[in-house]
């Protein structure tokens, strides 16, 4: 059981983490915006419903949500969830959409009313105001809280292990089961490296957006 073999085995597991991470981001980033529009809607029933939904998702453990997505389709609707990866993805996407939506909402509400009014008196349409005036300011505001959340997501992917998605910690536990404990600690290096790259990336983006204030 050499270092190289363990490294490769763990890398294989970590690939699953990367998959959950990338697909969750890809779907939760736009879906979060939909949730935001729901919770900010002037149509009261829709905004109330969305807020309750966000409360439930943010108020319960992601681990519990993984179980729910895995078991409830089979228990309640008689269609068992066979694909564990799929179950993990659904739970992650829903969970992170709700967190992202709150960040977006904060970002959108942080843009002053004057910016909208300036767009209005210049004859812009609502969508022109959103995309040409407001959006860039929202993006600048949300980069720091989003990077926080995205780094948390990297680590949360290991929770998929609880419904037996063969991610890196599960791979390491197999060694631990055989009495070799160090691969378990070694997994930390993978997360650290990955998050190190992300941190550099977010720093770069923040710097890129630093040319203006407000």
């Amino acid at each position: 059981m050499t270092f190289e073999i363990v490294t490769q085995e763990l890398l294989h597991g970590f690939w699953q983490n990367c998959e959950v991470f990338a697909l969750t981001l890809l779907m939760a980033i736009p879906l979060g915006l939909v949730v935001t529009f729901g919770s900010m809607s002037k149509f009261k029933p829709l905004s109330a419903l969305t807020k309750v939904f966000v409360w439930v998702i943010r108020g319960t453990p992601l681990m519990l949500q993984l179980f729910v997505v895995l078991y409830v389709p089979g228990l309640v609707f008689g269609v068992p969830m066979r694909n564990r990866m799929m179950a993990a993805l659904i739970a992650f996407v829903i969970n992170y959409s709700c967190y992202f939506s709150e960040i977006y909402r904060g970002g959108i509400e942080g843009v002053s009313k004057g910016q909208y009014e300036a767009g209005q008196v210049l004859g812009m349409t609502k969508s022109q105001i959103f995309f040409k005036v407001v959006l860039m300011q929202v993006i600048k505001r949300i980069v720091p809280p989003m990077s926080n959340e995205i780094i948390t997501l990297v680590k949360d992917t290991s929770l998929a292990r609880i419904i037996a998605v063969g991610e890196i910690l599960m791979a390491a536990e197999r060694y631990a089961g055989k009495g070799v404990i160090w691969p378990l600690f070694y997994t930390g290096v993978y997360f650290l490296l990955f998050n190190g790259i992300l941190t550099l990336l977010f720093g770069f983006i923040e710097k890129k957006l630093d040319y203006y204030r407000g």
Binding site: G119, G123, Y212, G214
Partner: protein, 252 residues
């Protein structure tokens, strides 16, 4: 024919009646100053003209065409509001420049989005306007790199870029340090010509006196007194006007 006719505009917020029937008209090329203490409804009046608020009663006509009637305001379509807004330009107290765009981009953004002309011509016009407000050397600066006075001058150029029939100023110098007020007032004064009609809400009495053709003194949501600068500042008829002018001219 009057370029602007405002007839019996009324506006309330909740139970509080802010405008209690405002009527005035303005000829092309005239400069109107609106003075009065805070809370008298000056800003609300400007916001009603720019359709940032909607009056519940009264009419607004531009060039003889009625563009707004309080009776039907709930039925007006978004596109119609947008078209009508373009008769007016508004310069805000707090500038409200778009921070992510540089000076030139701030000025050309709306003309380009509205496809006023080719991008090239829009830019040429924007450069002319920036020259007029004395900012030719700052076109690639971002708002955060400019002083308040410079920002307000960009905002004036931005409003002029759409060539409004009537340009409104909502306390354009109230957010500025005293030493920056002069440069903005000078620019506004420089805009005065036979083609440009302006409405200026201001607390700068000396400025109002020197730039206006017509002055309105507002108090408690009504026009207390209206007249030429001489009439208002030298021979105010109303006691309220006299009190207000005495207070604002008080020296410390």
């Amino acid at each position: 024919m009057a370029i602007l006719e405002v007839n019996n505009i009324k506006k309330s917020f909740a139970k509080c009646e802010v405008l209690k029937g405002i009527t005035f008209s303005l000829e092309k090329g005239e400069v109107l100053s609106i003075i009065g203490s805070s809370g008298s409804g000056k800003t609300t009046l400007l916001r009603c003209l720019n359709f940032l608020e909607f009056a519940e009663e009264g009419t607004i006509s531009v060039n003889g065409n009625q563009i707004f009637d309080g009776k039907h305001f709930e039925k007006i379509k978004e596109t119609e509001i947008r078209e009508n807004r373009l008769h007016f330009g508004l310069v805000f107290q707090s500038f409200n420049l778009f921070p992510q765009y540089n000076v030139l981009e701030n000025v050309v953004l709306a003309p380009n989005l509205l496809k006023r002309d080719t991008a090239e011509n829009n830019q040429k016009r924007a450069l002319d306007l920036l020259k007029r407000v004395g900012l030719s050397d700052k076109i690639d600066y971002y708002p955060c790199q400019l002083s308040g006075g410079q920002q307000q001058r960009v905002a004036i150029a931005r409003a002029l870029a759409l060539d409004p029939d009537i340009l409104c100023f909502d306390e354009p110098t109230s957010a500025l340090d005293p030493e920056l007020t002069g440069e903005v007032l000078k620019v506004i004064k420089g805009l005065k010509s036979k083609d440009s009609t302006m409405i200026i809400v201001t607390h700068e009495m000396e400025f109002a006196k020197s730039v206006s053709d017509k002055v309105i003194f507002m108090a408690d949501g009504v026009i207390e007194e209206m007249g030429t600068p001489e009439e208002i500042f030298q021979n105010p008829k109303s006691q309220k006007t006299r009190n207000f002018l005495n207070k604002s001219l008080e020296q410390f």
